[in-house]
């Protein structure tokens, strides 16, 4: 009886547990990278950041709205001095936690111009998106993005066209 009650409580707590960030182990790549960018913001830091984002600045106001419901933002970028510093097996270890049924790969593109591959994964909870993961690999660069929480992909993509990144006209679904 006690065991059943304990298990019931465990299941209940597991259901209430907040969405988790993807567990990626960067240690091997970090040792080989010549430069890296590391952004790790949990819910508390995101709420704090939101207080410091301006309402007067158009972009910052949009970002404030975008991050309002998020529980975590984690970005890691590694730059390498030469190509071939990381293998396909390394990338596979980052793909491993992004498996169905929790995760779905919605886009996978390859650019012949700069040799960059971009894979976009989403995590669904019911009809809502509860997480986003991006794996972007270029010959001398690897970027991993994990956003925990309900994210507006259109808004994020739109904001990606700012900050010096050229704006591109994207056809919206009717």
């Amino acid at each position: 009886m006690r065991t059943a009650a304990f298990l019931g409580m465990f299941v209940l707590l597991a259901g209430l547990a907040p969405a988790q960030q993807v567990k990626w182990n960067y240690d091997k790549l970090a040792a080989r990278a010549s430069e890296s960018v590391d952004v790790a913001l949990d819910g508390a830091l995101l709420r704090l950041a939101a207080k410091f984002l301006s309402d007067d600045d158009k972009d910052e106001a949009k970002i404030k709205k975008l991050v309002a419901g998020l529980k975590g933002v984690y970005v890691k970028t590694f730059e390498f001095k030469k190509a071939g510093e990381y293998s396909q097996a390394d990338v596979d270890t980052f793909r491993a936690p992004l498996r169905p049924p929790d995760w779905q790969r919605i886009v996978g593109v390859h650019s012949t111009e700069d040799g960059e591959d971009v894979e976009v994964y989403i995590k669904n909870e019911g009809k809502d998106i509860s997480g986003l993961a991006i794996i972007a690999t270029a010959p001398r660069e690897l970027t991993l993005v994990n956003i925990v929480g309900a994210i507006d992909l259109d808004a994020l993509s739109e904001l990606g066209g700012h900050f010096g990144i050229p704006e591109v006209e994207v056809e919206k679904k009717k």
Binding site: L41, V73, V109, I134, L156, V170
Partner: protein, 101 residues
């Protein structure tokens, strides 16, 4: 007198003069007493320390907030940029397919 005698003489036990105790007591009673700090000084010192701590905490919070803000901007720039790149590529492929058919 050799060294041994000199040492013996120097270290020889001698009784103090009869008025020694009185002289010491007179000196002790005549010494100025150490004054206790006034209570308000302690309060002011405590208040000043509290204000300094509060200002430090606010400044640290502001620093953390500004740092978090710049990290959010960087994260959105990177994540949004990659997402947009994928979106653009899909869009281009879509347009190419439409033009072929």
């Amino acid at each position: 007198m050799n060294l041994e005698d000199e040492l013996r003489s120097a270290l020889e036990r001698r009784e103090p003069s009869p008025d020694f105790t009185n002289r010491v007591l007179a000196r002790v009673s005549g010494a100025p007493a150490r004054r206790a700090a006034r209570p308000w000084v302690r309060w002011v010192a405590a208040l000043a320390a509290s204000v300094l701590l509060a200002v430090g905490a606010v400044e640290y919070r502001r620093y953390q907030g500004e740092r978090a803000r710049s990290q959010v901007l960087l994260a959105v720039r990177i994540a949004g940029g990659k997402l947009r790149k994928a979106q653009k590529k899909v869009q281009t492929l879509h347009m190419v397919r439409r033009s072929v058919t």
